[in-house]
Symmetry: C2
Subunit: 221 residues, 2 copies
């Protein structure tokens, strides 16, 4: 058995102040993928940068305090690549690719489309290139597991307010179609281990207006 967690921490340094390391030492994941770390490792204490028992790898944005991904892993991967090999995404530290004996694990922080939708094209481009990258690995006979923050809700059941979100990034037809495509290709959405009709099961809430306490959220995969 192997436990894998994925977590958008919204600032690893902020998360650290709220007990990230306590959680890590309690949960003891074999593999942990983080998104929105908003830091580079040299801004961190040793305890956070390299906790006892873990190897860590970092995707760092050129822009300080923005984006970023991290991989914490008990077993050292055979090989780790930071980035997809495409500068426009790798500049933002969004992707970490780790090869283990039996599978390739990818930590990915998909772009946010932006309040004004200005980054939707960039997001869709990342989606397409990311999918290509995974498919190439599969063609080489590798098993692909990816975790991260896809920044998209798949179906109406994944949102508390699907109608209000039709025209917002995170629930646009083209964004949702990308997930259709991924599932059609045989990927399994682990969150679907929940009963398929399960409602009100979310993994994200906006900070605005106490949405979390009211459970007005979304499941953004």
């Amino acid at each position: 058995m192997l436990t894998l967690y994925s977590w958008n921490v919204n600032g690893l340094r902020a998360a650290a102040k709220k007990g990230f390391l306590d959680w890590l030492h309690t949960a003891q994941p074999d593999i942990l993928g983080l998104q929105e770390t908003k830091c580079s490792p040299d801004q961190l204490d040793k305890a956070l940068r390299q906790p006892e028992g873990y190897h860590t790898y970092w995707g760092v944005s050129e822009r300080p305090g923005y984006s970023g991904a991290a991989l914490y892993t008990r077993q050292k991967p055979n090989h780790v690549q930071i980035g997809l090999g495409i500068p426009e995404y790798d500049r933002e530290g969004r992707t970490i690719v780790a090869e283990y004996d039996k599978f390739v694990l990818i930590v990915a922080y998909f772009p946010n489309g932006g309040r004004d939708l200005s980054r939707v094209p960039f997001k869709m481009a990342y989606c397409a290139d990311f999918f290509d990258y995974c498919n190439q690995l599969r063609q080489q006979g590798k098993h692909v597991i990816f975790c991260g923050d896809v920044n998209t809700a798949h179906q109406a059941i994944d949102l508390a307010r699907p109608k209000q979100n039709q025209k917002h990034t995170g629930f646009l037809p083209e964004e949702r179609a990308w997930i259709d495509q991924v599932i059609a290709a045989g990927y399994v959405d682990t969150f679907r281990a929940l009963p398929p009709e399960q409602t009100d099961a979310y993994s994200w809430w906006t900070y605005i207006s106490n949405a979390r306490s009211r459970n007005v959220g979304g499941r953004l995969h």
Copy 2:
């Protein structure tokens, strides 16, 4: 008897969170001059903007969150002018002039000369124009009281580290000379009511390296 307080609050909204209104209602000053309010009145609650028993007047910078002065007064002045009438200073909300029956009270937040000394000329210009303004009032037979943050230490006794500050704004020869000039003109430094040789009596400390707990400070008038 009339009590007058002057206080650089470094953000009135922040000061409010730390009990500014409690202090106000305890100290009950007749006149209170504030500097570095870093706000406009419409960013404030009624209780802060217009506390029971006070008339308030506001110097507001065009740049949000920057500079700013305020006057809280129990008695309504006969006339209040916001600014010195000189746009380059008034744009930064540094000055409030209030005429009472027996005196004119000026609240002034003198410019900081800047880490790199780039604003020393601006500061000296404000000093000169401010002094001229006061002298014009005196020529009209008015008594002038001014309070505020002059951002300058007069003598070595006013600083814990005079030698290290010779070349820093706040203790430059020309800045100190301006205070000489003001005192020569007959103004009384109320802080001098302390025994003249009193050391280690400061009104300002940098936030850096716990300077306040070590009382490594300055008296910036």
